[in-house]
Every structure is written in C-alpha cells, then in structure tokens.
C-alpha cells in the first residue's frame, strides 16, 4: 500500500512541461478526415485547438511557452489562451493522455 502514497495527481501550471507518453498516439485519420487520439481502450476526437496544443507538447516547452506561441500565432490575448490550455491540459492529464 505504500506505493499508493507516491502516486499523485499531476497539477498543470505555467511551468509544467507536458508531453504525450509513447502509448498515446495523436494521429490524422484520413478516412474520417480528422485527428484522433488513440489511448488505452479509448479514442478521443480533439478539435483544432487541442491538436495545435498537443503538437507543441514535446516535454521541453512549458505551458507558458505553448500559450505564448499560440497567442502569437492566433493574435489572441495570452492570458486567455493560457487559462484555456491549462484547463485543457489538466483534463487531458486526468484522462491519462498527457504527462508532465
């Protein structure tokens, strides 16, 4: 039971460096004409924003870096983007799709 104590929920913050574990596969599905995330016994449909974020989750960039990059690309307020993607990445972390 000691190991249960060492397993903790990852909390996403501006300094977190999210990445996709190798068993999570972000793939374009040509037949369906959309992106899919393949996960253990799960398939998710990410929208364009989620795909843009996930493509930047390389384990090197921080959430703040990703927010800055997307803010520049879409000419959007960085605070808004930051809040939005932090929430999204927290949800994806809780689903086991990203780690940090």
């Amino acid at each position: 039971m000691t190991e249960t104590i060492t397993r903790k929920r990852t909390m996403m913050g501006a300094d977190s460096r999210p990445s996709l574990p190798k068993y999570i596969k972000l793939r374009h599905d040509p037949g369906r004409g959309r992106w899919v995330i393949l996960a253990p016994e799960r398939v998710f449909n990410p929208d364009d924003t989620a795909v843009a974020v996930l493509k930047l989750c390389d384990g090197t960039r921080t959430v703040a870096d990703i927010a800055a990059s997307l803010a520049a690309e879409y000419s959007a307020p960085v605070d808004e983007i930051s809040a939005d993607i932090t929430a999204m990445l927290q949800d994806l972390s809780d689903k086991g799709v990203v780690t940090a």
Binding site: K8, D47, T49, D84, G96
Partner: protein, 385 residues
C-alpha cells in the same frame, strides 16, 4: 472553457441511420483458456478443436479492418497468450497501423515473452484480476496460484513501460472487497481500472444465481466506485460496466448495434455482439468467405438492429433511443422471448419488475455451486440433467 469544447470521446457522436466506420475490433484469438471463470462471455457451446484463424488470416482481417476505419484491436480470447503465434498476429496488427491491446489473464506469460511483445509494438495490456483474496481468486477462476502470478505480470508490464488496465469482474463473492481491488490497481501502477459488474449472458447467465449480488451490495459498490473515482482523479481512470438487473435504464449494447465494434471469433465468425448467435433468424457471416466491409455494411446480422428502425414502443418514441439504442437484445430475448423488445433492464419494460425480482430472489438465497467454464462442460451438464 470545458473539456468537451476541445476533446470529445469517440462513439458519442450524434446518431443517424448512416453506417459509421467501426472503431474497434475484438479479435478472439482462441477459446482455449487455463482459467474457468463461471462468468465467461464466450459461448456455452465452444467447439472442442475448432479450426482457428491462422496468423496470416488474422493479418488479412486486420488490413481489411484498418481500411474500414478500425483504429484499435483488442487481442482477446479465451486466453490469447495460448496462441504460440501471438507474436506473428501482433506483428500483423502493428503493420496494419492498429492500436494494439492485449486482454489477458497473464497466468501463462513470462517476462521474456512480454518484453518481446512490447518490442513488437504492443500498446497496452489489460490484465484480469479475479479477486484480491488469493484463495477466493483460485475458487472463482478454477485455477490455482493465479494471484501472485498476476501481481508479477502487472509489475513486468509497468517495468516495460506499457500502460496497464486492471479488469475486475464484480459478483457476490468479491463485491465486498471492491475497495481492496481498487487499492490493488493503484498499487500495481495501473492507469485505468475496469469495474465490470457481471454481465449475465453466456456462462454468467448459466451461473446467475451463483454470482448475482444483492441490491444493497450493488448500491454500496456504486457509492464506493463514485467516491474512489473522485479521490483518485488524475491517478487512475475508472470505467464501470453497469449491472443490469438493478438498473433503471439499459446501457447501449456494444455502444449501439453495428455502430462501433466488430467481434470476430476464433473461427472467423463476425458478430455484432458476443452473445448474438442465439438470436432467432440471425445470419452470421464469416471472414473466411466474405470481405469484412461487406459484412459490416451489408451483413444481415449487423443490420438486424442497426439504428432505430427495428424498434417497437416504448423504445420507438423514447428520447433515449439514440443513447441506449434499446439496450441488450439477448437480454430482451431471454426475458421476454422477443429480441426486438425493450431490454428488461429498462424501467419502461413491462418485464422490468420481474427482471429485478429474479435477481433479488436469487441473491437472497445461498449461492449454488459454479458451473465452471470448460470446453464441452455445458453439453455434459445438460446430459446430466
């Protein structure tokens, strides 16, 4: 902004009568299994030495499945590790670009073999755990010494960097230990736990009285699961397969008949659902004689209950008709004699009260002995009756 704005779980798309591409393929590689769990979903009349699909035939099936849109393959059984050519089968699945999931009891695995499978590109392992109490696990599985072996296999899976799901089938003999089973899954490093209440078809239907919990036990298990899901958020993902007899509304059979999943048996029969072979009038196709796309799109079996046009009242005008798709046809058939009737798990079914009472009465009585899942056992039992 909420999660659903950006990420939707596949399978939840709005319904229509158009045929969707299937997402998953359940590949039952063999019915052979060292375990004899009395709730097995395999058919009662498993053939003794069936001509199983060869690795090459599975390879062809996987290519066809991928072209049809299948994204994930679940290598299952029986016990898939009893196939000496599992490695070849896995290679074919990986070559077809499918996400691969090994559904195993683990008892025959060695670390070397698992390492080899991981190296070939296996994506995920689902390990069944019958009980946290080793003696109880031996009794339910009819197999001695499974528990320590499974713990070892779970450790190997994690050491090899593979994601792990622990599958627990819940019934009257282990339901009181559900909290310990959840702790076990966390402890062995699983990222996901499947709390699967026994589904009373096939062997489990035969053994219903021996397996069914009381309504109180079931309710308590729901509270335990809900509390644990919240407490363990971000640590382990929960999936619950609901219990039918104490349900209010049915669950969608296979996520909707002919919508998401294809089940292929060891001899190549292509099924919309595990248990559908008993439905009168159903015509089962085989991958040995027909292209998979033809079967999925035009097959009589897949179209029998696809969409909503087959429905009668109260399903026909129900606002949930495209959520639960009428529920389970096999259960409707066994309770009402009509596979097109509303699943008796639904409170709108005229049979709902009887369906619940049957469970309550059986759960209140002492459990009868198990009829263990053995190839040929059912016919022997029948002969003895």
């Amino acid at each position: 902004m909420t999660e659903t704005t950006h990420i939707a779980e596949e399978g939840a798309a709005p319904a229509c009568e158009l045929i969707r591409a299937p997402l998953g393929l359940l590949a039952e590689l063999t019915y052979r299994c060292p375990l004899q769990c009395p709730y097995c979903s395999n058919p009662l009349n498993m053939e003794k030495s069936p001509a199983e699909l060869t690795a090459g035939e599975w390879g062809d099936v996987f290519q066809q499945a991928a072209r049809l849109g299948v994204l994930q393959v679940h290598l299952s059984g029986g016990e898939p590790c009893l196939r000496p050519d599992l490695e070849d089968i896995l290679k074919h699945a990986v070559a077809a670009g499918l996400y691969t999931n090994l559904i195993t009891s683990g008892v025959t695995l060695t670390r070397d073999r698992l390492e080899g499978l991981a190296a070939l590109g296996l994506d995920h392992v689902q390990l069944s755990v019958q009980d946290v109490d080793p003696e109880a696990a031996d009794i339910i599985s009819g197999y001695k010494g499974g528990a320590p072996k499974k713990r070892e296999v779970a450790r190997w899976v994690r050491e090899l960097g593979l994601p792990l799901t622990i599958n627990v089938v819940v019934h009257r003999h282990n339901i009181e230990r559900l909290p310990a089973m959840i702790d076990y899954a966390v402890e062995v490093g699983a990222g996901r736990i499947e709390v699967a209440h026994t589904q009373y078809y096939a062997w489990a239907l035969k053994n219903r009285a021996a397996l069914i919990p009381t309504r109180e036990q079931f309710k308590r298990s729901v509270e335990i699961t809900n509390e644990a899901r919240e407490r363990l958020k971000g640590i382990i993902v929960f999936d619950v397969v609901a219990h039918d007899h104490y349900a209010v509304r049915p669950k969608p059979c296979m996520g909707g008949w002919g919508r998401n999943l294809i089940d292929i048996t060891p001899t190549g029969k292509v099924l919309p659902c595990h248990a559908c072979e008993g439905i009168p009038g159903i015509e089962i196709d085989n991958v040995r004689t027909k292209p998979l796309a033809d079967i999925w799109i035009k097959g009589q079996s897949f179209n029998m209950f696809r969409g909503t046009s087959w429905m009668k009242e109260p399903c026909k005008s129900c606002e949930r008709r495209e959520i639960d798709w009428g529920g389970c046809h096999c259960q409707a058939l066994s309770m009402t004699g009509d596979a097109c009737a509303t699943d008796p798990a639904c409170e709108l079914s005229a049979f709902h009260k009887d369906f619940a009472k049957l469970a309550e009465d059986e759960a209140a009585a002492p459990p009868p002995p198990f009829i263990y899942r053995r190839i040929g056992a059912y016919t022997e039992v029948k002969a003895a009756e």
